[in-house]
Amino acid sequence: MLVLLKGGRIVDPVHQRDEVGDIWIEESRIVAAPQGRQPDVTYDVSGKIVMAGAIDIHSHIAGGNVNTARLLLPELHRGHSPRSPALPLATGRWSTFETGCTYATMGFTTVVEPAVAPHQALQGHLELADVPILDKGALTILGNDDFLLGLLRDNENQAAITDYVASTLAATNGLGLKVINPGGATAFKYNARSFGLDDVVPFYGVTSRRIIEALQQAIMDLHVPHPLHLHCNNLGLPGNVETALATIEAARGKPLHFAHIQFYAYGSEGDLGFSSGAAELAAAINAHPNVTVDVGQAMFGQTVTISSDVLRQFNGVSTAKPRKSVIFDGDANGGGIVPYLYRETDVVNAIQWACGLELFLLVDDPWRVFFTTDHPNGAPFTTYPNLFALIMSRQARAEAVARQPQDAVALTTLSSIDREYTLNEIAIMTRASPAKLLGLTDRGHLAPGGLADIAVYTPDADIAKMFRAAHLVFKDGEVVVRDGRVTHYRWGKTLKVKPGYDPAIDRRLTGYYEQHYGLSHNMFAVPDHVLPHAEPFQEVACSR
């Protein structure tokens, strides 16, 4: 079937397009305007904005810790809408089904779950398989596991570490590698209550810095497109901007992605010893082109923090609201689930909110700063429309700032920043650049040959309204959202890499699992055929 989107404003930064034009779709792909053929279906999108489908690189939408959060907080997601016969379970709030529908409604077509523990990979993929419409990806967690720390302690060569990373990515069907408070979760098992970049993991004698270096090198050696995805030490602590700055230096000019950097952008000025260090951090990011960051914006309201940084989460238990938490000492990282209420009247929360916006606005290059709330840690992804408004409108920011404690505002530079994101910059940050970062050459743009993942928005003075409900969304060339409503389910792929490696490491792992756990290493595999839809995975090439 040949489909024509006629006369929309096409915003495609990859091809430097921002102009009125047509887009042609045949089957799942965007095609060049065909000579002498009439479209089977024409959508008049004159006056509308046409972008590629949006890509979220860091959103906790699946896996054991997310599910524990669902079970911990039944009172936060009671249902109220009747079922829709076309969309089974989509009115189950916070279900995987609702997650896919809500993302699609906003024009998102690909979302990456950034924290899948190797031993929980099958559950992660079962949950992702039940997220309709979207393509998904999963980042696999290493860095607090005994096998890796043992390799480092024993000074094994980098090749063994690289093979281990490759084998783990393959077994877990990961799209990339995440490291979370490297060594910190393990140190917590030895009763450490804080853990910095150069602290030493008991029993192993290795530092966080060394773990990062080894994993960063492994990802480079394997040519995995997405750089090592790092959750730093000392998340959430006053003065932790020093840790972030030191970690940027520790990247040694090599590619490194810093997740939810807002949470490490804190100085220690002011009466509470808590201030914004975002300007300093943004300057360092600007000066280090090897570094990419996603923001992890905090937005006011009730949420729940879900993190495999079990040390940080344990330390946060006393701040839980409602007052109940789960702390899981898992096989490597584990995790912590701590409900949290960000209050506009709270000085610390207001500074956190401002820090995120400062980072969005002070990092010059929209290709290196990514749009996230670290869902749901800074805020649920349902707040995205409001966040678009805040970065695109200084008036919207001024109105919000006026409501906040002025002693908090004074500890940030936010009021001095005039920048407003353009639509083109939004398209870079949410489409073009995520595709590039993840190595997804088939999406993030609107040129012929690209996947027909397309979002069409109706411009509105109310920016949040425009982004909350797309006029049309196409996934693989098929309409899935019409006038802000999902029309039906389709089942996307989960994107993964499959780097080559020396299988000797698998034999070694088999022995290790037998000896240590008394279990088969194979027990934690993710066989395709047990997932509910046929051909659940799509491979992303490892080459740069």
């Binding site: 997310v66 109220h80 189950g92 279900s95 098992k189 938490s325 000492d329 096989d331 756990y517 279990l519």
Partner: protein
């Protein structure tokens, strides 16, 4: 081909699934109960319940909710058998039936071995509250027993002594508690192991309070043994599919969770549920309710019913007759298992799919 019966008489699988669909779709509130099946079967059950505007429950819900209600009212600290095996220097066992619940418990936790990840590499210690009779030692490790005629009081007393608070108990008991408290406080990575029928919510919460208190100065965590028939898998799949665990109903269209209202046995006994689908693929279990209700049963051939169900379809066992995915207690994760004795017996998911197709399709 699977064996099937309608009203106690042999039937084809087509006739049986057609009849099942008719019974379930004509009910005002059908309940899917038992739910002893693999993840694919649970997924099919929940999708069918949604389509039917029915409710679903698991046969071991009562034991699951004694932990889950504490999780969502108080919070929880827990770990995996792997960590307990490799790291725990102290085990605090609670309940007189741990090895009945999990016969391989101590084989798995291997307390006789030195904990590999422990810095001190010292012999482990075991304290057992409400001990199993006759277990004076486990793999050469002596058990420090604390008899507990009233479990929550004993746990409360121990928690008080760990916090160095006074207790109004006999001196002899207090001395025992003090000795145990000393072991717990000196633990480097202690694990409280609990499970079984003796623990109610109050006991679990008191035990978790003790664990939290111990974490003020050292590391301590918990290990719940859970229940059989993939109960933990049902909690997980239900969680991601609806946001809630089992004992959830779609009577209002959206998932509505209530552990009393949607207890399957109560729904049937009260007459609120007017048809039931019973699923038990792991064990030849049958429903515990006594009231007659039109019943569709997906059970192994060995299952015995006093009255033949309206529809009975024999199904295979996950990981025996067919590949299956379920929650593994030994791995503390959802895992895929290959069929050990592949057969042509149908899986629960396959039968549910046929039923769903009669009434407008499956998820």
């Amino acid at each position: 081909m699977s064996e099937a019966e309608v009203d106690g008489k042999p039937a084809s699988i087509e006739e049986a699934t057609e009849c099942a669909a008719a019974i379930l779709s004509r009910a005002r509130l059908p309940v899917i109960a038992g739910l002893g099946t693999d993840i694919a079967g649970i997924r099919g059950s929940i999708a069918l319940a949604e389509r039917l505007h029915g409710a679903y429950d698991h046969m071991h819900s009562a034991r699951i909710f004694s932990d889950l209600d504490v999780l969502r009212q108080f919070g929880l600290m827990f770990t995996t058998p792997n960590e307990a095996r490799l790291r725990a220097d102290v085990l605090l066992c609670v309940g007189p039936d741990l090895t009945r619940v999990w016969p391989q418990l101590f084989e798995r936790l291997a307390p006789g071995e030195l904990p590999v990840f422990d810095l001190a590499q010292q012999k482990r210690k075991i304290v057992w509250i409400a001990p199993e009779p006759g277990l004076g030692e486990i793999a050469g490790v002596p058990v420090v027993p604390i008899e507990a005629p009233d479990l929550v009081t004993t746990l409360g007393g121990l928690r008080a002594r760990v916090a160095e608070r006074p207790v109004a108990l006999d001196d002899a008991i207090t001395q025992k508690l003090d000795a145990a408290a000393d072991i717990l406080r000196k633990a480097r990575f202690g694990v409280a192991v609990w499970g079984g029928a003796a623990l109610d919510k109050l006991s679990v919460e008191m035990l978790q309070g003790l664990v939290l208190d111990l974490n003020k100065t050292t590391r301590f965590t918990g290990l719940a043994l859970g229940a059989e028939s993939n109960a933990a898998g049902a909690v997980q799949a239900s969680g991601w599919m609806t946001g809630f665990p089992m004992r959830t109903s779609f009577g209002r269209g959206y998932p509505d969770h209530d552990t009393w209202r949607f207890d399957a046995t109560r729904l049937v006994e009260s007459g609120e549920a007017d048809a039931a689908l019973w699923v038990s693929a792991y064990e030849a279990e049958t429903p515990s309710w006594t009231r007659h209700v039109p019943l569709v049963a997906l059970v192994p051939a060995e299952a015995h019913f006093a009255q033949p169900p309206a529809v009975r379809i024999d199904i295979g066992r996950p990981a025996v007759d067919h590949d299956g995915v379920d929650y593994s207690r030994e791995a503390a994760a959802i895992v895929a298992r290959k069929a050990s004795h592949p057969s042509n017996k149908a899986s629960v998911a396959a039968v549910l799919l046929r039923i769903a197709q009669q009434i407008g399709g499956a998820l």
